[in-house]
Amino acid sequence: MKKILMITALGTLMLSCGNNKKEDTNNSIAIDGSSTVYPITEAMAEEYRTEQPDVNITIGVSGTGGGFQKFGRGEVDITNASRPITEEEKAIAAENNIDYLELEVAYDGLAVLVNPENDWVNCITVEELKMIWEPEAQGNITRWNQIRPEWPDEEIHLFGPGVASGTFDYFTEAIVGESGSSRGDFTASEDDNILVQGVAGDKYGLGFFGLAYFEENKDKLKMVAVDGGNGCVKPSVETVSNGTYTPLSRPLFIYVNSSSLQNPMVVDFINFYLDEASDLLDDVGYVPLPEAEYKKQKQNFNEFVERNQGEPAGE
């Protein structure tokens, strides 16, 4: 019984010392945000650790929207984002006097995939994709031959990312024209590996998800070229990087809080990020920006640092 009383006392004690903030902010960098960008930032944090083992970088995965919420409250130094910040999110940041900089760190291609047994689709136009995915298609466009008459008279089965993901937002914006606007009768999953399985096991399936998932499952899926007005282009590191694969390639971002620049470690980490990104991206399945673009991002960042610190960034 005494033990229980002691445990209770201990618990109360812990409760009472519950509101001390982190004391050594200088050695830690807090990052949150998109699960799509997470693997890149994780790779950077891991690599940075070999150079600066004393800096503790922590990364959460609240999603792009959740990350911006915390970023707007000033709770994190950096947030990962798979889409640019929205007006609403900007307003929240402005309300809390948070100045920030957007940096592009990589490209991600969204691939349109079908089953390997599908021998009728090799290339699809953006208009056809729109016809399939727009909200009006729900219940109306249900068979392959409704899209192109020469395609088989079979039901079409659709697979796509869940509505909460940045990938879904991006696809609907690029194809349907309005972010988040889509038919609802498709198999949705936040886990792209489920979508891979879905399309791989369904001759009449069609889905879209990140290029990296195709690269790892080449034997189970067939990639469809997309015609955005300038002929059929298949997504690849090259076509995504040089911008010919449109409109389904997108930049991925990190956002930096200006007040975090007081911490020299944050400045150092971002410089490291922009220097090393192109070498590490292949490991995690994303496409690097052209070299000149990284230089430009770095220049933007250094100007931002100078504006906020009043002195050039220490190398």
Binding site: I7, L10, N56, D191, N193
Partner: protein, 284 residues
């Protein structure tokens, strides 16, 4: 004659149906555990247990997630145990049987059915923001403690109820007060049962992901928590992250981490069974 035969046949048919139903669950569980073990067991070694997360599947480990899970388990126990037991004692021994106490009882049963993500939202607002604990181990533990509190209370009440009335009567007859009876007779006699309930509740807590993600538990943490105020990650979050990665090596990692998580759960269930047996012998 015909009728008897028919009834016997029905009897047999039901028996086999029952056997089938019993085996169904077991076989499914065996297939699940078997495939996980086939996938993951060769990945488990000392390095896997002591390495940090990595972009390369074969270099990645679960050290920080495992330590986070252990911290959360210990703190959740410290918080949920005294609160849950005290509430159960009150309801079972002190509370008068009136409207208020039956209202309390209904609500506690209802709480057990609330989806865990709701507890996460509650924890985010109260512990993380209002009490300013941040996304710390402590905030996570308080949230999980809330989550398992109804289970702890209900099982503790059952354990106290199971103490023979003769013990209680004898204690009162010797002039003991209610508190003396509770602390010296009822609690020692029912402690095995209480622990069983608590440990089973904790086995549930150790597998929770949703409420911890909501309060802001992290995915990449390069250090094990050193104090209750440190940030943390837990095994289920690491598993969830690995399963959704494109590279196949991470699937193997996820399977290996699932094995570790299952081992923890089995060990805890084992401890629960041990206490239950010990306690039953004591009573006889």
């Amino acid at each position: 004659m015909n009728n008897i035969k028919k009834n016997r046949w029905k009897d047999q048919a039901f028996k086999f149906w029952g056997i089938f139903c019993t085996l169904l669950g077991l076989v499914l569980l065996a297939i699940f555990i078997g495939s996980i073990i086939v996938d993951g067991v060769q990945r488990i070694d000392w390095d896997f247990l002591t390495s940090l997360p990595s972009r390369k599947a074969d270099r990645a480990g679960i050290y920080t997630a495992l330590m986070g899970s252990v911290w959360v388990l210990v703190l959740t126990t410290i918080i949920a145990l005294p609160v849950g037991i005290a509430a159960a004692i009150y309801l079972e021994e002190y509370a008068k049987k009136n409207r208020l106490s039956s209202l309390l009882e209904v609500n506690i049963s209802n709480l057990a059915g609330v989806p865990s993500i709701i507890y996460g939202l509650l924890g985010l607002e109260i512990f993380v923001r209002i009490m300013q604990m941040g996304a710390s181990v402590l905030a996570g533990s308080f949230t999980l403690a809330l989550l398992i509190l109804p289970i702890v209370i209900v099982s503790t009440r059952e354990a106290i109820k199971a103490v023979p009335k003769s013990i209680r009567d004898a204690s009162f007859a010797l002039g003991a007060s209610k508190w003396q009876t509770v602390s010296r007779q009822l609690l020692p006699a029912s402690f095995g049962g209480i622990l069983t309930g608590v440990i089973l509740a904790l086995s549930r807590a150790v597998g929770e992901t949703a409420p911890l993600i909501v309060i802001g538990a992290l995915t990449y943490v390069p250090f094990a928590p050193k104090s209750p105020m440190d940030e943390f990650s837990v095994l289920p979050i690491q598993i969830f992250n690995w399963i959704s990665r494109p590279q196949h090596g991470f699937e193997v990692n996820a399977a290996a981490a699932i094995i570790i998580l299952l081992l923890i759960t089995f060990m805890m269930n084992g401890i629960a069974v041990y206490f239950r047996n010990k306690w039953q012998r004591k009573l006889k």
